[in-house]
């Protein structure tokens, strides 16, 4: 019986051990690789290319954080998850950061034990329809069959919009995006709704003749995307936020992946000098080298490079994702 009691005590001890005690940054460094939660199938944000390398804005954000921690954009393991599993994966510690085009909202900020870093992309929910239907506005969708993915924000978003406008619709909930595309092609649904970038992504990649499809002008919701980390690890949250800030600031300061380390460019700007580690101690708070911001920009590029590389192929106007100086919303505190 005594043996049994000891065994029980041991099991208890194992179960009760709290994973929170350890800081994420030191855990990542010890492991030698960043576990980054991404989607596997959203062109422009995160999707494998022909060689199996993950490409896109989300994937590059993961690389930027890995560069800050290790000085090497390759030290990241892409953990592909799903809309239903993504938050649990982060809560349980399977991933260190979730960069999965997650829309910020109140209930996610308060109910999940997770916290959002800064917005890196402004999106909004829209509609795509076949040109054959001759629809010019979402207001004309009375009685339409609408394809939706069950575990997405689009389902409540569309419901809200149609209710506000007094439009009846029929929901067809299909999980796999390939099946959604077939359903649209076959005319099972008249319209599909998700974030506009998602619509542009399937338009560019999934339809045989993309020109037969039209994205309606209405943007019916706000979808600001931000990386997520666990609550209660302020150091890790701060690092993720400033990796984003470094990328945006580099854009504003006029330095890019080629010129950030070029000593002849912007030598007198104190912010650029700080990013290069020549002034101040940018790495002190994290125990990282002081030039980590410069390494991040050199490896990944500034915000414009990031956008052009990943999202210009979708053919969307840059809209709110321009710098605040050009009338957009992309804004970051300065590196001071």
């Amino acid at each position: 019986m005594r043996v049994f009691a000891i065994a029980l005590a041991l099991v208890t001890a194992c179960l009760v051990t709290d994973a929170k005690a350890e800081s994420t940054l030191s855990a990542v460094r010890e492991r030698g690789v960043l576990n980054c939660g991404v989607t596997s199938a959203l062109l422009g944000f995160s999707a494998p290319d022909a060689q199996g390398v993950f490409r896109g804005m989300d994937a590059d954000m993961c690389r930027a954080i890995a560069t800050a921690v290790f000085g090497d954009p390759g030290k990241v393991r892409f953990v592909t998850t799903s809309p239903t599993q993504r938050f649990v994966a982060l809560q349980s510690g399977t991933i260190d950061v979730l960069i999965y085009t997650v829309t910020q909202n109140f209930s996610r900020d308060t109910g999940l034990g997770l916290i959002f870093a800064n917005t890196y992309f402004y999106d909004g929910q829209g509609f795509i329809v076949s040109k054959k239907l001759n629809v010019k506005s979402a207001k004309e969708l009375e009685g339409a069959s609408v394809c939706l993915q069950p575990a997405s924000d689009a389902a409540p978003g569309a419901t809200d919009y149609f209710r506000r406008n007094g439009i009846q619709f029929k929901a067809v909930m299909i999980e796999a995006i390939q099946e959604v595309v077939s359903a649209l092609n076959a005319g099972r649904c008249d319209v599909y709704t998700t974030d506009v970038t998602g619509l542009a992504s399937i338009k560019a990649r999934s339809f045989q003749s993309p020109d037969d499809w039209i994205i309606l002008p209405e943007i019916i919701s706000k979808s600001p995307f931000a990386p997520m980390v666990r609550q209660g690890d302020d150091q890790w949250l701060t690092l993720v936020r400033w990796v984003e800030n470094a990328i945006i600031d580099a854009d504003e300061l006029g330095v890019d992946s080629r010129t950030i380390k070029d000593a002849s460019v912007a030598t007198n700007n104190p912010e650029v000098r700080r990013m290069r580690g020549l002034e101040g101690e940018a790495g002190k708070a994290f125990g990282l080298p002081n030039d980590w911001p410069a390494q991040v920009v050199a490896a990944i590029g500034n915000y414009s490079e990031l956008y052009d590389r990943n999202l210009s192929a979708l053919g969307l106007p840059r809209g709110p994702n321009r710098s605040w100086r050009e009338g957009g919303l992309i804004f970051a505190p300065s590196f001071r």
């Binding site: 049994f4 029980l8 099991v11 208890t12 179960l15 009760v16 709290d18 929170k20 809309p83 239903t84 938050f87 649990v88 809560q91 209930s107 996610r108 308060t110 109910g111 999940l112 034990g113 239907l133 969708l141 009375e142 009685g143 339409a144 069959s145 069950p150 575990a151 997405s152 924000d153 389902a155 409540p156 569309a158 419901t159 809200d160 209710r163 619709f169 029929k170 929901a171 067809v172 909930m173 299909i174 999980e175 796999a176 099946e179 077939s182 359903a183 076959a186 005319g187 099972r188 008249d190 666990r230 609550q231 209660g232």
Partner: protein
């Protein structure tokens, strides 16, 4: 004291204590895991508890058998999903039972060709993953049927890739429906009595059936009318429902076939010879000697299949049928309460499966005992 210690010594044998210890360890372990889980959820500021069930759902469900709108609660949405799951499971159960009966008839009367085609059917179903069956059936409904503007219409019935749309009779304020319901009930009683007993009540069946036909065809209906993108009105059986039900019934039918075949092949040859020696015809032998006996052999294995299809309806998410899992996932994405959602799903499927096996034990338990 002496008595007590002697009592304990006599009764504390390992084989008596072991089950108790195992039980306590198991219950204690489960309690520990849950206590730890909830402590961790609290310490990480993750919302817990089932309060979310009374929040407004805020999403639509395409296929509902009970009244639902997006302003209703998440709990109500989950019940809609549960009803969808139960309706689909019941439809599949009826279909696989019919497949079983047909297979039995073919094996008994069908000859060599029938037997060979049953063999091919079993090869086809059992050697292809159920997921592929689903995708193929769904694409048949989706691609094979025309969009609403080119729909097939047979009288007031419309068939398109938005589903099979049947006319609903207009409402006459309850009293008329009550009368029709009573007439239908009388018809059902008449049918069942006439099958058991005399055929003299045939006229009752005919009159009831014709009454229903008149109700559906002659009276004005809120029939399906093409308006804008879709047919409006009528009662819609969606292609997602059809694909799920037919694919799972077709697939599970392969297993049912093997159960029936096994039962028929293991039927004692002596009884066959005995029956023919007594001058029974093949039909009499089949219905009077074989069916009553093989039903008892088949029943437990069939119950297994009924439980299986109930669980398999959760694959409906692949073809867009809003079953319990699909609705639960949509709710989960809004609330983020994964532990509670999954626990609810587990408990619900466990309850359904246990209820099915319990009910069938009550139904067949006696017969199986008698058979043994």
């Amino acid at each position: 004291m002496q008595y007590l210690s002697r009592f304990l010594l006599r009764n504390l044998r390992a084989e008596r204590v072991a089950p108790l210890v195992i039980f306590i360890v198991f219950v204690g372990g489960v309690a520990l895991v849950f206590a730890n889980l909830f402590a961790n959820l609290r310490s990480r500021n993750i919302a817990s508890g089932f309060g979310y069930l009374s929040q407004a759902a805020g999403f639509e469900i395409g296929d509902t058998w009970i009244h639902y709108s997006s302003q209703m609660t998440i709990g109500r949405a989950l019940i809609v999903g549960l009803v969808n799951t139960l309706v689909a499971s019941t439809a599949i159960a009826v279909l696989i039972t019919m497949i079983g009966i047909c297979v039995g008839l073919v094996l008994a009367f069908g000859g060599e060709l029938g037997r060979a085609s049953i063999k091919r059917y079993v090869y086809l179903t059992r050697n292809i993953p159920v997921l592929l069956h689903l995708v193929v059936w769904y694409s048949v409904f989706r691609e094979g049927l025309p969009p609403p503007r080119g729909a097939f219409t047979i009288g007031p019935i419309v068939l398109s890739n938005r589903g099979l749309i049947l006319p609903i009779p207009q409402s006459y304020g309850g009293l008329f429906e009550l009368a029709v319901g009573l007439a239908m009930g009388a018809g059902v009683i008449a049918i069942s009595r006439s099958i058991v007993g005399r055929w003299s009540k045939l006229w009752l069946i005919v009159s009831t059936l014709s009454g229903i036909l008149v109700w559906f065809i002659l009276l004005p209906t809120n029939g399906p009318v093409l308006r804008g993108f879709n047919y409006v009105g009528g009662w819609v059986v969606t292609p997602e429902f059809c694909a799920l039900v037919l694919a799972l019934a077709f697939y599970t039918g392969g297993y049912v076939t093997e159960i029936v075949r096994g039962a028929i092949e293991s039927f004692p040859q002596g009884q066959v010879e005995g029956a023919f020696a007594l001058g029974l015809s093949r039909t009499q032998f089949f219905f009077l000697i074989m069916i009553p006996q093989i039903t008892r052999t088949i029943a437990p294995a069939m119950v297994n299949q009924y439980v299986n299809v109930t669980k398999a309806t959760s694959l409906g998410i692949i073809v867009g049928y809003p079953d319990l899992v699909s609705v639960s996932n949509t709710a989960l994405n809004q609330t983020g309460q994964a532990v509670e959602s999954i626990a609810l799903l587990l408990a619900t499927y466990l309850t359904i499966s246990l209820a099915v096996s319990f009910a069938s034990q009550r139904c067949f338990g006696e017969t199986t005992e008698r058979a043994a």
